[in-house]
Structures are given as structure tokens and as C-alpha cells.
């Protein structure tokens, strides 16, 4: 769900975030998400959703990887299997969304870069959040990894890490230029 803020309050929020953290304007949130290699008879790349969730369960969408290539948008039929994401805003989203949705990825480490001055991040109120990464694989399993964080990010505490046990590997939160 996007927060609808006026241009002015957006600017104020952004300024506040900058003052609070001393972030340089060009900085980005860098997420590294590992998809493990699995020994299974039938393997399909997982659907993955990444979002920030505040304590009132409001979500700021960062990424959704799903099967974009299927005929008649058949790939959208399985988005509900990312069932927490679906509940936390996925079901209200009109996919595909520029800058958020993309095709799926296979096993390996994948980097996701989101500019801190992007509208959604700039508008985030300071406070406690969770980075939530959910993965669901066709004829496979499903896993949700949470990494608690405070916003704006405290540079000295970075990188923040988390780890899945089945469908997700290492997850890392850092800042990059």
C-alpha cells in the first residue's frame, strides 16, 4: 500500500530522514537475498515478495518476483501463495508495478537496490519495522523470514542479517551509494 502524502509533507519527511541519519542523497537500501539450490525432482523458481512492515502492519512494497511470462497472465494465479504478502497489500496491488515486480530468479544471491529517496521510502515514518521476505515455490515449500529494524537505519548496526531454513538462504540489509 502506498502512502498518499502531499508533495510538501513528502519533502518534509525526506528532509527529516536525511537530517536524522545523515544519509547522502544518492544512497540506496541494498538487500541481498539468497535462493538456495535444492535437490528436488521438479524445480521451479520461487515467487518472492519483499516488503517493510510497520507495527500497525502497514506494508511498503519493495519487490515481487513472479512468473511474468505465462500466457494470459496465468502467473498471477499463484500470487496468493505468497499468503502473508497477499494479505499485506499484495491483493490490493494491480500487478505488474514498475520498479517492484520482476521475473523470478533461480538459485543464487540476488541483489535488490532501492534508492532511499524513492517516494515510498522517503515517506516512511521513523520507527520499528520488519523487513519481510516471503518465498513460495510451485510444488514446493513456502517460507517467511523477518528481520527487525529501526528506521532510519542505524549505519553502525549494518549489515543486518537473517536466514531462512528451507526456501530462502541468507538475507542481508545494507546501505550502498
Amino acid at each position: 500500500m502506498r502512502k498518499k502524502l502531499s508533495g510538501k509533507s513528502k519533502a518534509v519527511a525526506l528532509l527529516g530522514a536525511l537530517l536524522a541519519s545523515g544519509w547522502a542523497q544518492a544512497q540506496s537500501l541494498q538487500l541481498s537475498i539468497e535462493i538456495p539450490r535444492l535437490k528436488v525432482a521438479e524445480y521451479h523458481n520461487p515467487y518472492v515478495a519483499v516488503w517493510l512492515e510497520d507495527e500497525s502492519r502497514n506494508a511498503t512494497q519493495l519487490a515481487v518476483w513472479y512468473d511474468l511470462g505465462m500466457r494470459n497472465d496465468e502467473g498471477e494465479k499463484w500470487l496468493k501463495d505468497l499468503r502473508q504478502w497477499w494479505r499485506r497489500g499484495g491483493r490490493a496491488m494491480d500487478v505488474p508495478v514498475d520498479g517492484i515486480t520482476s521475473a523470478t530468479y533461480g538459485p543464487g544471491e540476488h541483489k535488490l537496490k532501492v534508492a532511499l529517496d524513492r517516494e515510498e521510502l522517503a515517506a516512511l515514518e521513523p520507527g520499528n519495522y520488519r523487513l519481510r521476505v516471503e518465498a513460495a515455490r510451485e510444488v514446493g515449500g513456502r517460507e517467511l523470514v523477518d528481520i527487525p529494524l529501526t528506521w532510519p537505519l542505524d549505519k553502525s548496526a549494518l549489515p543486518l542479517t537473517g536466514r531462512g531454513e528451507s526456501e530462502l538462504g541468507n538475507i542481508r540489509i545494507a546501505l550502498t551509494d
Binding site: 497472465d73 502467473g75 498471477e76 494465479k77 496468493k80 499468503r83 497477499w86 494479505r87 491483493r91 490490493a92
Partner: protein, 277 residues
């Protein structure tokens, strides 16, 4: 084998009691294949049956010719691929509009029980017959012994949602026992609590008896029923112990019936899906 009269009488009584218990235990349900759907114009398949075991069709198919389907915009939908088998009916629906759909069947009417001059029991309408309230005066002797007249209602429902849930289908019709969700019925999760409101003829139904049974009862020894009563505002809450599908039944009775009835009765049944967190 010879049976004494006493044994025969006992046997008959046992069979009668068994039938009565069974009749009461029979549960009518409409079970969607899935309740939360994504993608363009998704299809959902449904089973509908009357059974003892939740959700195993082991008694008789539910009649689906009177089934009503309402879409999020209030539109009425026709069933696709409807078929009535011996033990269950099946049909499909295509959810072309985003939002919540309600599938329901409902009936309401008078029902009377009395004894004639010889002490023989009578009921109207007869077993398996549908009441036509306009025939009440000619069918039921008003001065009969032990005459009891009920105004009863019965409703069986379920809900499915494509995309984001909506609330329009929850509007009360004002007839019989109805459920108005406070927590959306397609947004239920294990470990969380959900609240619902029961209405009788559009007013809060206090002290309605609610029973919830998780699906898969064939694979365990006990029903694992959850029982709860509605409060003065008709509200009740349930905390879902596990993910799965649940059968819910509510019963309500009072003496606020419009003439010629003296008692008012409502039965409501619904099927819910609870997802894991």
C-alpha cells in the same frame, strides 16, 4: 431368530432414536476449493452436500437448484458445470470482478406440530415437503391438542474472494438467522481471533448457540468442536486453533414470533477457510 415383543419394541425405539440423532447431526455445507484467489478471472470449484462427517460427502447431495450467488457489485451469478451426484453436488464459479462473493441457499416458513383426538402426532408441512404459508389455515387445525407453531428459517452459506476483499455481500436481508462478519470471512488465520455478528430478522440474535467443527473429522476420534454463545449484541468470537476448513452452525430460538407462530427459530450454517500464518 425369534424376537420377543419387548425386544422388538426396544429395537424399534433404538432405531428411531438413532435416526433422530442422525437427522440432527446431519450437516449441510457448501465447500469452496479455495477461498482466497488471485489472477485474472479465477475459477473456483465447489462441493455441496449433507453429511455427518465434516467434510466427507457420506449421506446425500445438497440440492443446488435454489442456490444464490451474489458478486461484489450485487450482481447475481449463474452456476457453471453444475452437477448433482449421489453424495454431493458440484459446480464452478468464475470470479470476473474483484471482491467478495457469497454463495447461499435460504428458506423460511411456518411449521406446525399437534396431536389429533386419538393422540396421534401430526406435522405440517409433511416430511420432505415445503411449506406454503398461505395453506396454513386450511392445513392446521387451530384448536388441536398440543399445537405448536414455529416460524423457522434456515440458511447455508460460504464466501470466496478474488483480489482484495469487499463487504457489500454482507448486507442483511432481514429474514431469518444471518451472519454479518466483523472480521472478513476470507481473511482468517490460524492463531488469530475472528468476530462475527448474528442477526435474527435483522436484529441482534442473543444467546444463539454456535458450534464450529474443523474439517477432516474422519481422521480423528473427537469432533474437536468449539462451542460459543452470541452476546447481547449478537456478537461472538472464535480463535482458530489451526489452519484448515471449518464448518460453523448456529441455532437460535425465542418466542418473538409473528402470528400464527408462537416460537421463532433460526438455523445458520457456513464454511470458512483458515490459512496458516
Amino acid at each position: 431368530m425369534k424376537k420377543s415383543l419387548a425386544a422388538k419394541v426396544l429395537l424399534t425405539a433404538a432405531v428411531a432414536a438413532g435416526t433422530a440423532m442422525q437427522a440432527q447431526a446431519h450437516r449441510a455445507w457448501i465447500l469452496p476449493g479455495a477461498t482466497v484467489l488471485s489472477g485474472d478471472d479465477p475459477y473456483v470449484t465447489f462441493d455441496a452436500a449433507v453429511s455427518n462427517t465434516i467434510f466427507f460427502p457420506d449421506h446425500v447431495a445438497l440440492r443446488i437448484d435454489g442456490l444464490q450467488v451474489r458478486g461484489p457489485g450485487g450482481e447475481s451469478l449463474a452456476l457453471e458445470n453444475a452437477s448433482r451426484g449421489r453424495y454431493r453436488s458440484t459446480f464452478d464459479l468464475q470470479l470476473k470482478e474483484e471482491g467478495t462473493y457469497k454463495v447461499s441457499t435460504a428458506s423460511a416458513g411456518l411449521r406446525a406440530f399437534w396431536r389429533d383426538a386419538d393422540g396421534k402426532r401430526h406435522m405440517w408441512p409433511g416430511r420432505g415437503k415445503t411449506a406454503d404459508d398461505s395453506e396454513f389455515d386450511s392445513a392446521v387445525p387451530r384448536d388441536a391438542k398440543d399445537l405448536r407453531v414455529y416460524r423457522g428459517s434456515r440458511r447455508i452459506e460460504t464466501f470466496v474472494t478474488a483480489g482484495a476483499p469487499s463487504d457489500d455481500v454482507f448486507a442483511s436481508t432481514g429474514v431469518g438467522l444471518e451472519l454479518v462478519p466483523v472480521t472478513h470471512p476470507n481473511d482468517l488465520y490460524a492463531g488469530e481471533s475472528a468476530q462475527f455478528k448474528l442477526l435474527i430478522d435483522g436484529e441482534p440474535a442473543q444467546d444463539a448457540e454456535v458450534v464450529l467443527v474443523p474439517g477432516g473429522s474422519r481422521y480423528r476420534d473427537s469432533q474437536e468442536e468449539i462451542t460459543v454463545k452470541s452476546d447481547g449484541a449478537g456478537l461472538f468470537s472464535v480463535t482458530w486453533p489451526a489452519a484448515g476448513r471449518y464448518f460453523m452452525e448456529a441455532e437460535y430460538e425465542d418466542d418473538k414470533a409473528a402470528a400464527p407462530a408462537t416460537r421463532r427459530r433460526g438455523q445458520y450454517a457456513a464454511t470458512f477457510e483458515v490459512l496458516p500464518l
